[in-house]
Symmetry: C2
Subunit: 339 residues, 2 copies
């Protein structure tokens, strides 16, 4: 699937409501040249994710919006074609945030090398990539989850939450979570290792729902959402509980900072620790995770599903299908084969 | 000053506005007898503190209100007269939360033994007692303040805050704080080791006031207040900052839990750690502090002032005078001499 030109997908117009094919344009350019410190890579796998829909709006958020006319961005796994960066050579495999395109030029420091091994290379965009590392670092290092802990996870069926559930079970915890549909709640238990879960959209009292899902209370809260569900989980924390603050998606699209949870007094009375983190601060723990996760995948203790579309031209449709829920597991687009 | 009977001060009626002498009654009882596991103590020093005024109201708070007709409670330093508790013997010196009275009977587990030494015994109600221990544990253990850190303290002139400032300087930190009057702000710098401070009641923007007081930002926040000043301090936190959550006095008299600070997203982006604590969980660190603090007092690196009134009958007036600010430093009432 190598190309003599660089096919690229650009944002043609901002969607209103559902994204449609005409919000994208396909353009062709000459394959670019790397300058000093840069590498030229051929992109092999790219990830399409729900958060990208948000970036198509012209709204201030935790990452800047996509620009109309510009090449869209995505997480990719790529192979180095030409290197003017000391740390990488031709043939090396890397992962990073590059473009919806066949070839990218990037500062060598902005990609991370990965090795082909027993797990499919595309896994580095999901369970062996940022989402998996975030789950591991947050659960086991930031919140220090240990055997017997009661863990609660918000956005539990998401890219991160779906790994947190499985890792919690591997580490001997009991784990419950919240998700936004009955289908996702079923997945929590059938696929992601959860002991219990509930649909926060149909809950009459979030505090009571957390309590039912975690009858002994919560030792470790893995927080991806913020807002009301964070408050509800806080009220269920046990003494000496730990909160890994990973995301606040409920706040991302708010113009002004929202008030924090009611009941900050609980943090004192129950001796809680709340800790924010960014996974890229912890490269050693990320490496530690990838080694362990490859083993858990082999043993079948960690499971992962993906749907793979083929060819850059089909990336917009794969994205649209994913937003409509047609995929099972992580949606990937394969752009080329490894040399 | 030993007594043959047990003189006690009771709450005669709930004050409205300023406390007056007629809100108290003096009664006499026979000296009580200890049951198994209890000790009878003669109270030597008692502490009168601002928080007691709050307990005179019939308002739900973090500690229950005083009951009309009941003996008032206070922190005391006492000497064991008769022991039916294995861990203590006649003559031992103890500290705990007992009554405004000459003699008390208490479960032996509810008091902590202290030793007479180079520092006055009454210091165990202040700088060598809970307030000093809280300052030390919160600053050096919970928030892990280290040399070069920028520390910010709310309620900086209070029993705890006045020690935090001095300990921060001893540990090589730069320290600033907020207090509720210009007089208190002067004390921060003249007496309590602070580099900078401001009056939060006259600040036009708390966020800007914290910024002026801590131009490099805040590595360690020692939080006694909560509410708006907590929010203002959070917005000034530096990456990897730590918050020791010690108190939330701004919330104590609220009927309903108040929303937390705006900007919880900062906790992630700046990788903050917020940790609640209760000093009595950490007896080893408390002992470590008392040993160190006695040394610092000897060397003059830690200073402490107190005003001592004499006799249980004068406790109500000492309390009233303290509330009106007639004392310098900690207000103590001496009830007896050590045997």
């Amino acid at each position: 699937m190598s190309q003599a030109v660089n096919k690229q997908i650009r944002l043609a117009s901002r969607p209103t409501g559902w994204v449609a094919a005409n919000n994208f344009s396909v353009t062709e350019e000459a394959i670019p040249k790397p300058a000093d410190g840069q590498v030229l890579v051929r992109n092999i796998f790219m990830s399409v994710d729900p958060y990208m829909r948000g970036r198509m709006n012209d709204v201030k958020s935790y990452i800047p919006p996509f620009q109309v006319g510009a090449v869209l961005q995505a997480g990719v796994v790529s192979q180095v074609v030409e290197s003017k960066y000391d740390g990488l050579k031709e043939g090396d495999l890397v992962t990073g945030m590059l473009g919806w395109e066949n070839y990218s030029v990037t500062d060598g420091r902005l990609v991370r090398q990965v090795r082909s091994g027993p797990a499919p290379l595309s896994y580095h965009l999901g369970i062996l990539g940022m989402p998996g590392m975030t789950a591991y670092v947050g659960l086991t290092k930031i919140a220090e989850a240990k055997k017997g802990d009661n863990v609660f996870v918000t956005a539990a069926s998401g890219a991160v939450g779906s790994v947190v559930g499985q890792l919690a079970r591997i580490h001997g915890c009991r784990v419950a979570g919240s998700a936004g549909s009955d289908e996702k709640v079923s997945l929590l238990k059938s696929d992601f290792g959860y002991n219990a879960g509930f649909n926060y959209k149909t809950s009459k009292s979030l505090t009571e729902s957390v309590q039912e899902a975690c009858p002994k209370g919560v030792d470790v809260l893995f927080e991806n959402v913020g807002g009301d569900i964070f408050e509800a989980a806080l009220w269920n924390m046990r003494d000496y509980g730990r909160v890994a603050l990973c995301g606040m998606i409920s706040n991302y699209n708010m113009e002004d900072p929202q008030p924090g949870p009611r009941g900050m007094m609980l943090i004192i009375g129950r001796r809680l620790t709340i800790r924010g983190f960014i996974v890229s601060d912890h490269p050693k723990w990320c490496d530690e995770y990838v080694r362990k996760a490859i083993g858990w995948l082999k043993e079948g203790r960690l499971t992962y599903r993906e749907t793979i579309a083929e060819g850059i031209e089909n990336a917009p449709q794969a994205f649209i299908d994913m937003l409509k829920g047609k995929n099972t597991g992580k949606q990937i687009v394969q752009l080329a084969d490894i040399d």
